[in-house]
Symmetry: C2
Subunit: 333 residues, 2 copies
């Protein structure tokens, strides 16, 4: 199944409508998986091996302005600076726009403004692709459901299908070959006291993309076969922990899920280890503080940065221990 | 099955013989597993889940002097300094001596001299227990076979059963409940050009003992079930690589086996991560140099120190890249 077939199926006759408004302006939050998406069953359509579960980060994400351009090529800006058409960023976005029949008839001006570091394991592509899909939907007044937007965003980057919503979102793996049952769904529970501390230890581009790392892991890790069982065990516990506001269980499952994902990478060949020295120092500090009784956990994506998980009541104390972190309270933003 | 039963079975009537010589003085090398011992099927007798394979480190190891003492307690020295009887070191060694019926009738003076840091993942207990068993055998003229000495050493510390020999040694997992088929056996191939570079980044005691780490991993890692398959796949390839002097394959299997062992720990709960920042820096440097074409691999035990694997021809270059490593050429020492 091709991406274009999915797009055509979803858009139907809507696809060739001319823009009803001058400019679309949308925002999509980045999301951090608490139960990770790791491994594809279809790498063309970004269909995952397992379901996953995330938390969107409020105001952290991507704001995208989209309008029709009278240039011969798409004009793409990242944080108000024009992006070279030979860059990966440009090529990936232009290729995505190419999936949409409207792109045959016109070129776009896209200004992507992100308040998170690109490609540093902070899911910038997730919010980016969610935003561009939402912007297309707004510009052309397609009136697509969030579920359909989620499917379209997934074609750009798997985890983008979760960035259509704020709060907790579950991405259902689905079973269909065309992926029409593989989309995000908001998990209808909030947790206002929940905090996330962003420990940005490096904003450098990752030394291996998550796409590559995922592929290598599936192909070479002796442990990857067990990963789906781990996720299928963790996901219902995580949801129940949220319902019960059981922070210890919530933190434990999140951290354990992340560390197991990294374990599959460490056992790949060649091994993949996203940690930088600072990552290790923070990890060990978290473990030490937790042993001393502080309810503090973390998660780590395919990158060296850690995201601390804790409750509002410990905010001040944690800010003192980790002076350079940025604390978010996703449900209050 | 109790340890004392194993000792009695092996010693038979030899056990009560009085010492024929004044003092025994022996040396046992430390050994570094290339295919790791990780997981016990019997923690009383230190019977492993899988076979393992190691390289002994020539002159690096433990020299033990043993004689009968007329004191009321065992006098134990570590590097010529008397060890307090309340210390873990003293208690573990004294408990081991207690397995031997001769210890009922007399007390010992034991001087253990080690030229490797204790408890820093350099298998000091392996050479230590191998040496004390060899010293007892010498002092009492038991004339036990190396295979029997290997079984006795295993009762002190699993990997000690490989420290009875120099060179490559395979520890056969065995299947019997009494462990009489679980011992080391020299692998009859040498590799004079093979070098090991010791990167000692920390000589501090490990933050969790390998015994504890192993236990926690078995009990909580979702990936441990796959570990025996990994070892059973790696071990024959490693041996064939040695026979063929295929250094790339040898290095790859060794490093991959070690990283997979660490992956089982990372996926345990709470996660176990022996790396310190310097460990990560060296790892990444190895991967970078290898990508540039240098045939360089590493192995890592349950500790933060790395052991680089390379060939004699690259010795000078590697010494320049890693100025503080100590290079050993185990088959030439």
């Amino acid at each position: 199944m091709k991406k274009t077939t999915v797009v055509t199926t979803i858009l139907g006759k809507k696809s060739n409508k001319l823009p009803d408004q001058d400019v679309a302006s949308v925002f999509a939050p980045t999301n951090i998986a608490l139960c990770k998406y790791w491994g594809k069953r279809d790498s063309e359509l970004n269909l995952p091996v397992t379901s996953s579960f995330s938390l969107s980060l409020g105001k952290k994400g991507t704001k995208t302005e989209l309008k029709v351009s009278d240039t011969a090529y798409d004009v793409i800006l990242l944080n108000n600076k024009e992006v070279d058409s030979s860059s990966e960023f440009y090529k990936r976005l232009a290729a995505f726009l190419d999936l949409f029949p409207v792109h045959r008839a016109m070129r776009f001006y896209v200004n992507t403004q992100s308040n998170i570091p690109t490609a540093a394991g902070l899911a910038s592509s997730a919010s980016g692709f969610a935003a561009i899909v939402m912007a297309l939907n707004q510009l052309f007044c397609w009136g697509l459901s969030y579920q359909k937007l989620s499917i379209l965003a997934r074609l750009g980057s798997g985890s983008a299908c979760r960035s259509i919503w704020q709060g907790f979102v579950e991405w259902h793996a689905g079973t269909q070959n065309n992926g029409m049952d593989s989309y995000g769904e908001p998990f209808p529970h909030t947790w206002p006291e929940l905090c996330m501390g962003l420990c940005i230890v490096s904003t450098k581009e990752k030394y291996i993309s998550s796409r590559e790392a995922m592929k290598r892991t599936i192909e070479t890790s002796p442990f990857f076969a067990e990963w789906p069982n781990k996720v299928n065990m963790d996901l219902p516990i995580l949801k129940q922990a949220i319902i019960n506001k059981d922070f210890h269980l919530f933190g434990k499952v999140s951290e354990s899920n992340a560390m197991s994902m990294h374990a599959t990478m460490l056992s790949a060949w060649p091994p993949i280890h996203y940690a930088v020295p600072e990552t290790i120092l923070i990890m060990k500090k978290v473990w030490e503080l937790r042993q001393q009784g502080l309810p503090l956990y973390f998660t780590q994506d395919a990158g060296p940065n850690l995201k601390l998980l804790f409750l509002e009541k410990d905010k001040e104390q944690i800010q003192q221990y980790f002076t350079s972190i940025e604390i978010l309270q996703p449900f209050l933003e």
